[in-house]
């Protein structure tokens, strides 16, 4: 990595959700601020700025990373994925997103982006997880609303659907009489 001058702005170019983006960043600019304030990708949220809550988790070259502990200049040349890149189309939801909705796995939704990003990465490499493994993954995130039960249930359901098994009927109350 080239040596950067503290006060100067440096051109940073990377791929965000499959599209090339670039911005001018001081070396101290956090990746969270670059994504949110400069690129308008506000779906990634900032909950603690010390790497504990996980709300800001993004994927860098497919690996989950805390954007609040990442400098914008570290994204140079990388492939970055955020919550805005999870759905197959603007008016659709991914399997994981849809199971979150079906299981009421979110309330305020502030922490949700980070959890989706971590689970998305995990389910790609571990398509057949058990509940404890999923609790460990979700355990890297703080959610203050749900008590986690519905999140873990949604993740289990999403994994089954992604494996091609029929969606579970858990929590699917009859919608209409």
């Amino acid at each position: 990595m080239p040596r950067l001058t503290a006060g100067a702005r440096h051109r940073v170019a990377f791929t965000l959700n499959g599209k090339p983006v670039s911005l001018d960043a001081e070396p101290r600019l956090l990746a969270t601020d670059a994504l949110r304030q400069q690129l308008g990708a506000t779906g990634t949220h900032v909950g603690c700025e010390h790497g504990a809550c996980g709300a800001c988790t993004i994927q860098i070259d497919g690996e989950p990373a805390r954007a609040c502990l990442t400098l914008a200049v570290q994204l140079e040349g990388r492939d970055v994925r955020t919550v805005e890149g999870l759905a197959p189309a603007a008016d659709r939801l991914s399997v994981l997103q849809a199971t979150f909705r079906r299981h009421h796995a979110l309330q305020c939704g502030f922490c949700t982006a980070g959890i989706l990003i971590s689970l998305d990465a995990f389910l790609r490499t571990s398509p057949n997880p058990d509940e404890q493994e999923l609790r460990e993954v979700v355990g890297g995130h703080l959610c203050r609303c749900t008590g986690y039960t519905a999140i873990v249930a949604a993740a289990l359901d999403a994994a089954a659907t992604l494996r091609g098994e029929p969606a579970s009927s858990v929590n699917r109350d009859p919608v209409h009489v």
């Binding site: 504990a52 939801l93 909705r101 009421h104 979110l106 995130h141 008590g147």
Partner: protein
């Protein structure tokens, strides 16, 4: 009037909110754009718990790049007045320190700059001179006559002392077979929403209007406090809320003081100003639940029947009694007897001020403090009278045929069947299984216990309950306060589609979905067709003081009011349709998107045609119908009356019921508590959306789990705040949060339009004490202090065990006192130089400058007095400090005492150490040292866990540098020789 056909209400439909939140399209305050030219604020906060501000020098900060304004307390005092509080006392309630700081984290200055980075840079350049004052952090100490006084204009830190008497408690106690009591100290904790506070403020100097966007949650009684503090009429403080808010749990009431600060900053800067709170600011200074010291006594018969209760509560509201405090102490006033039929009650309520952050709304709001005492007492009654704990609870319950039930202190419990709820919870083998598991575990030598808790969960607060803190005479003078105005607007547009607005700003509860269900049922429409707006704009929307989202009032009050507004509009549409179809209005019905005459299938109109008529052909409106375009309903329950002259108060409209039972196993070595089973039975009246109700219960349980085992906003004895990160203030994660069994019965409230009651707060009240009762049962102990950290639980186990054998080293006495965080250490270093040479180095400014880690220069003020500038990094915080070092007790060249202090923007520290120099063989001197030190400010709040190691590392670096410098020719050898122990 109830809906004719309930189609959607009560179904767990998928939430309308979720697609946007799941795909990154949420609209939280920091996701919204701001006007070009908006400036960004950062806040400098006090590192001291109690100190006079002698001077503030902002010149260097104001001259820094990008800085537009620096605002200090004197500027604030020119443009505003202190905030009103519920107590009529002489303490001035400023949102930023004016002349004196009273808690660590109190705002002292605001920098407004081009961006947040530049604003934070400038904070470091503000020079403040403090004179520290003695401080007090414990409420019982603070109300003692000789305690340091927080507010000079008051006569003491005890700012309210009220006694209440209902029935004849004295006689009941005199006649009682037994008197049983508990004493508890409930700790400080908080809701800690994942989104912190945010404010964007602007000032129009011509119209004199403050326009503020903030993720405030209500109650909007605070709007009156804010406009008064800003010295404008209410119509010149336009307060707006963003569409989404990232959780609140009561806490976002506390954004109010920052609304004042940013409004003033924007006025002074002449530009819009935006501020987003960071997590350290939030944990240290946003909103804490009150810590409370309670002694609760019961007069009890031999059968375990309680005849009287005697409460003594000392509430700690922190440094300022900020509105709506002391509401935490009074919210439960009507239901201080919980689920029990007790007619004789004495209550003494005192409010103390301490050098800690101000308190306010936190989920449970007064309930955790009350039920921890009450339900621990129930367990103690059973233990002391050798009765079954569940039998003691059952013997005292309000009977099912007694509702509506008026409590001794004035609450009117709307509905319930507590006995049936408990029986159903215990049924189907649930209680039997718990007992079996306990017996089996105990037979194998494990520590297993069962806990119970019964709680009445109040919702829809009476806006008048807070005035119970005043005497009847004071209330008469101030005028009666009561009620709980809720409001909702339902509107029909020219193509007949329906929109709804409510003055209740959600923070994730799913209001828009439930309102769509409720309103759709009124009109016989699909719920997906109804559009709901929940953000509030006080300059435009219908609202009142009770507006907002708190005291679990949504389902009971707000959804019910939306139903009323929709029903009114529906009744007008029925009259319009009756005219069109030529049938009586009573014959008109709404279903499936159609309006029709019952029993006459051919007399049917599309809903949209009837609904749009008021827009397109008002001349066709029937006699007596003005329009069917928009209805705004206000609803306040008549049961919520002002406190009586005897201090009886119906503090809440609805009273749900919870019964919890849990089985836990304690690991005696680690002190870890494993929750084996947890069953929670709820009666929240009519359930509007089962999925959301379960979400509320599980979320409340998880927060309660944190309060039970992990969470405490901890302060040191010197007022330093110790838990400023999520590594210190521990929220439960998915790996600690067990799944629970949720059960329901429904006794609809007769006082709410839909029969619903609040549900979200109950487990915050019942769960901590249920688990504490289980641990008490497992260990056979009487005193349980929250949070039950492994260290505390292990200490309880150890206290119960026989003394360990002498040859076994003691279990590390896990510090059960958060206040003691003195750093202590000792060590030694070997230096290849004679003592005299080392002694000379230690007294030489230039030599010291080279030896002290991170030193930028040392000034020698006298032979034994030095000052230095140093940069130190401790964990995540690296900062520049001014150090002052004095030498005393000199015994040249053998020993000296060093006393030092450091101060900087990131915190303060002080300590003392003794150094001895002992000559040895080969010209090697052994330097031995001992030290004691303490730190405060930001470093203490976020680096606490790292301080011990950091201190040792820095001292190690100092002696390593000394060794190198004293014998530069043999670094390798002495690097090897260098050793230390601590």
């Amino acid at each position: 009037m109830r809906p004719e056909a309930i189609t959607w209400t009560g179904q767990s439909v998928e939430r309308v909110e979720d697609a946007a939140l799941l795909s990154g399209r949420g609209r939280f305050i920091d996701d919204l754009g701001v006007k070009p030219g908006t400036l960004h604020a950062a806040i400098l906060r006090s590192p001291h718990a109690h100190a006079d501000i002698l001077s503030i020098d902002i010149a260097a900060a104001a001259a820094m790049p990008g800085v537009a304004a620096v605002v200090v307390g004197a500027d604030l005092a020119k443009l505003t007045t202190p905030m009103l509080a519920g107590l009529k006392i002489a303490a001035e309630n400023w949102p930023m320190a004016v002349e004196r700081v009273r808690y660590v984290g109190e705002p002292v200055a605001i920098v407004v700059a081009m961006d947040r980075y530049l604003a934070e840079d400038a904070l470091d350049a503000i020079e403040i001179s403090y004179r520290t004052l003695p401080c007090v952090v414990e409420p019982l100490v603070s109300i003692a006559p000789d305690a340091p006084l927080l507010h000079e204009k008051t006569s003491g830190n005890l700012v309210s002392d009220r006694r209440f008497r209902y029935g004849d408690p004295e006689s009941a106690f005199a006649e009682a077979a037994h008197q049983i009591s508990v004493s508890i100290a409930y700790p400080r904790n908080t809701g800690s929403p994942m989104e912190t506070f945010g404010v964007v403020a602007e000032y129009d100097p011509h119209e004199g209007v403050y326009d503020v966007l903030a993720n405030f949650q209500g109650p909007f009684s605070i709007h009156a406090v804010l406009s008064r503090a800003l010295k404008v009429p209410g119509n010149r403080l336009r307060l707006r809320m963003p569409p989404d808010s990232g959780g609140s749990f009561g806490v976002k009431q506390g954004v109010a003081p920052y609304i004042i600060l940013m409004a003033v900053a924007a006025r002074i800067a002449g530009r819009p100003v935006k501020w987003i709170e960071d997590r350290l600011e939030h944990l240290g200074a946003a909103v804490a639940a009150t810590n409370r010291v309670t002694t609760l006594k019961a007069a009890v018969t031999s059968e375990g029947r309680i005849t009287a209760l005697d409460w003594d509560q000392v509430e700690d509201c922190g440094a300022y009694p900020r509105a709506p405090e002391p509401a935490t102490l009074y919210r439960m006033h009507g239901n201080m007897t919980g689920a029990y039929d007790v007619r004789h009650v004495a209550i003494r309520n005192r409010v103390a001020l301490t050098n800690k952050a101000p308190t306010g709304l936190v989920r449970g709001f007064g309930g955790p403090q009350v039920y921890y005492a009450l339900e621990r007492l129930m367990q103690r009654i059973a233990v002391e009278l050798k009765l079954d704990p569940l039998a003691v609870i059952r013997a005292n319950l309000i009977p099912g045929d007694a509702f509506p039930y008026r409590t001794a202190s004035g609450a009117l419990y709307d509905s319930g069947d507590y006995v049936r709820a408990i029986d159903l919870a215990a049924a189907d083998g649930r209680l039997a299984a718990l007992k079996r598991r306990r017996d089996e575990a105990r037979a194998e030598g494990h520590l297993y216990g069962i806990g119970f808790a019964a709680a009445v969960e109040p919702s829809v607060s009476n806006m008048g309950y807070i005035t119970t803190v005043l005497t009847a005479a004071e209330r008469a003078k101030a005028g009666p306060k009561n009620g709980a105005q809720a409001t909702a607007t339902v509107a029909i547009d020219p193509v007949g589609s329906v929109s709804v607005h409510v003055a209740s700003v959600p923070q994730g509860q799913g209001h828009r979905t439930v309102l769509a269900q409720v309103v759709a049922d009124a009109f016989g429409l699909p719920w997906q067709d109804i559009r709901i707006v929940t953000e509030l704009d006080t300059g435009r929307d219908a609202w009142s003081i009770a507006s907002g989202n708190y005291s679990s009032r949504f389902a009971a009050a707000v959804a019910g009011t939306a139903h009323l507004a929709a029903t009114r509009l529906r009744d007008k549409l029925a009259r319009i349709a009756a005219g069109q179809l030529d049938v009586p209005a009573e014959q008109i019905s709404f279903a499936g998107g159609a309006v029709f005459a019952k029993g006459v299938p051919e007399k049917t109109l599309p809903f949209g045609r009837v609904a749009a008529l008021s827009h397109w052909s008002p001349a066709l409106l029937p006699e007596g119908v003005d329009q069917a375009i928009r209805e705004t309903a206000f609803w306040t329950p008549p049961e919520l009356t002002a406190p009586t002259e005897f201090d009886e108060v119906n503090s809440s409209l609805c009273h749900g019921f919870i019964f919890d039972m849990a089985g836990v196993e304690v690991d005696p070595k680690s002190g870890k508590v494993r929750i084996d089973r947890y069953v929670t039975m709820h009666d929240c009246g009519t359930v509007l959306h089962p999925g959301m109700v379960h979400g509320q219960i599980r979320g409340g349980f998880a927060q309660a789990l944190g309060a039970t085992f992990y969470e405490e906003l901890a302060y040191a004895d010197d007022g330093a705040f110790l838990t400023g990160t999520f590594a210190d203030y521990l929220l439960p994660t998915a790996t600690e949060t067990p799944d629970i069994e949720i059960l329901h019965i429904e006794t609809p409230s007769p006082f709410t339009p839909l029969g619903a009651k609040g549900v979200g707060e109950g487990n915050c009240m019942s769960t901590p004490v249920c688990l504490a009762n289980a641990v008490a049962d497992a260990l056979g102990v009487s005193d349980i202090t929250l949070p039950m950290t492994p260290g505390r639980v292990a200490a309880l186990v150890a206290a119960e065990e026989p003394a360990p054998p002498a040859n076994r080293s003691n279990r590390p006495a896990a510090s059960t006192k958060a206040g003691d965080r003195t750093l202590r250490g000792e060590g030694q270093a070997k230096v290849a130089a004679p003592p005299e040479a080392i002694w000379t180095m230690l007294l030489d400014a230039d030599q010291l400058a080279a030896i002290i880690p991170g030193c930028h220069g040392v000034k020698k003020l006298s032979d034994t007095h030095f000052t230095a500038e140093v940069t130190l990094g401790i964990g995540p915080v690296k900062g520049r400090y001014k150090a002052e070092i004095k030498l005393s007790d000199l015994d040249q060249p053998k020993a000296a005492t060093l006393t030092g202090s450091v101060s900087g923007a990131l915190g303060t520290g002080g300590g003392a150490g003794r150094i001895t120099l002992t000559p040895g063989a080969d010209g090697i001197t052994t330097i031995a040292y001992t030290y004691e030190a303490a730190v405060g400010g930001k470093v203490a709040a976020i680096g606490g866990r790292l301080l011990d190691g950091a201190a040792k590392a820095i001292i190690g670096q100092f002696f390593a540098a000394l060794a190198r410098r004293a014998a530069p020719s043999r670094p390798g050898f002495f690097a090897r020789l260098f050793g230390r122990r601590a």
